[in-house]
Symmetry: C2
Subunit: 326 residues, 2 copies
């Protein structure tokens, strides 16, 4: 951590392990924010490492995880949740005394369980989850502004020293994020309903649509502007990351999915028995939630369904010459 | 219909009944496209009629539906599907001989059933459904470019004269839309999967999230950027319109919902039993569908999850002064 008071640095040497969308954005945000001295990067894929060099995402791109973390006062693991235990085991012997270890995983209980056994004495672990992302993956998808005005949730353990938690908080605040803290278990429940189950049902409906006999895929694609295309955006997220989320947050996902299915049964009955008042009441309530999300700045109020800038420009025809003559 | 060849007009006098998002956009697109002579508007709500006058959406705003349709060679009903039968009954005696009647309803079978019995001899009915919209409602939400590059589906009856179908097609092409034709029954099946069921499950998950005891509404709202907020956008659509869709496309919606639920049961089992390969395979396939939708121009490839221009500008801090000192 920063030695000289007033140096403006939160960490002297930051190591980012895993340069996907989030890892690349962390590197870019760290460079822009200035709260970090040297940025070291490592990715298990040689192709990704080469691309990280080309994109200039880091000051140093190391060839091994051991080399990468050596001498770093902060290490952020930006790998899929399922890989995090193995990566922790690999780097553990090479972590500098006093270093702060963190991650960006979308699941926290399983990450704490996977990392804690490998933690050397004198290294603090402060699990973190920036609630931000796009439907794109890989180092090219990263951008420095990804975390601006988004929430980053820290789930510090009882053993996490206060200074380590404060350091991670300062780093994310420097990225423009807002920081909250909660327990790993509560995090996993909150994210199950705000992120994991929405992804599960988006993946599901896109799969259903792709396997119908009565409606062709080409029709599904053509007429997707009626709502379906918004689900495909979510269902285009990284498959490895999301496989690992569901494998590692099973209990909370199944609990929230159970609630979703109970409610859907009630809604299905309303449709079957033509309960217009029930439908109208639900559809009015859900509109209010949307208004709150826009009000707290987690969403834009722009009419996105219209995708005004998405259409190909079409010549406004004033000829209409193919019209009928009466 | 246009008398003078070369006048460039598809219809001489267009009447828009119902000035919500779609009706207002039809009026604006008609004015911009130039394929129409005079634009007459009527809405059952006096407040909406007054607003239509203020916004200058039409050349004439009539006080009654009867007055509005009199002398018009084209009448487009832009009212909720559940109201369309009553509106057809009200205007039928006043429709000009030779007039072409159309609509913009999201359901076609029920609309054909509701309108056909009221159709006077000499008036053609060409049902239409522009697959376009936003999450906003009312005359202020309309804009001329809404239909650009979007599909408009016509479901002409056997009795629809060819010239009438061609006129409606030319009108929508003049709005920048692409036009397809199919049977009402097939339309209702296609839209059930591409639009109606997606809306149903979006409304449902937003309702589920709002009624949890373990996660507060304020947490749902704060952390909505993880996927949930995209569902709230869809679940903010007009309650009356959507109530009527589900009441009037019950069979197809229940059929597609049944398929969705079968698939979701299989997915739920994959999560429960930790079938990582099964999850990865599904998540990879769904990504490909997304790519196709972008490829055919029904969606932008921009990384919308990031909502780059949505965040409040955050000062990039280079102080990080609150960080720990080692």
């Amino acid at each position: 951590m920063a030695d000289a008071p007033g140096s403006g640095r939160v960490f002297e040497r930051l190591c980012v392990v895993g340069l996907g969308l989030i890892g690349a954005s962390v590197a870019l945000a760290a460079r822009r924010g200035g709260g970090v001295g040297t940025i070291v990067a490592y990715d298990a894929s040689a192709a990704v490492r080469a691309r990280v060099v080309e994109l200039g995402l880091a000051d140093i791109v190391a060839d091994t995880a051991a080399e990468a973390v050596a001498g770093c006062d902060h290490v952020v693991l930006c790998v899929p949740v399922g890989a995090i235990g193995a990566v922790a085991a690999e780097i553990a012997p090479h972590l500098a005394p006093g270093a702060v270890l963190s991650d960006v995983g979308s699941v926290k209980g399983a990450v704490v369980e996977a990392v804690t056994p490998h933690l050397p004495a004198g290294v603090a672990f402060v699990p973190a989850h920036p609630v931000a992302g796009t439907e794109f993956s890989g180092p090219d998808a990263g951008f420095a502004a990804l975390f601006e005005n988004r929430w980053c949730i820290l789930t510090p353990c009882e053993a996490s020293p206060e200074a380590a938690v404060a350091g991670v908080r300062a780093l994310w605040e420097g990225f423009g994020a807002r920081v909250d803290t909660m327990s790993p278990a509560h995090h996993d429940l909150v994210l199950a309903i705000t992120s994991h189950v929405p992804h599960l049902i988006a993946y599901n409906i896109v799969g259903t649509a792709a396997h119908l006999e009565t409606v062709t895929n080409s029709e599904v694609i053509k007429f997707s502007a009626g709502g379906f295309r918004d689900f495909t955006r979510i269902a285009a997220s990284d498959p490895t990351m999301w496989r690992d989320v569901f494998l590692n947050n099973r209990e909370a996902v199944l609990e929230m999915l159970g609630r979703f299915l109970e409610d859907l049964s009630a809604l299905q009955r309303m449709v079957r028995f033509g309960d217009g008042d029930g439908l109208f009441e639900l559809f009015t309530k859900t509109r209010a939630i949307r208004t709150s999300i826009v009000a707290v700045g987690q969403e834009t109020a722009a009419a996105d369904f219209g995708r005004r800038d998405a259409g190909q420009p079409v010549e406004a025809s004033s000829s209409g010459g193919t019209g009928p003559r009466s």
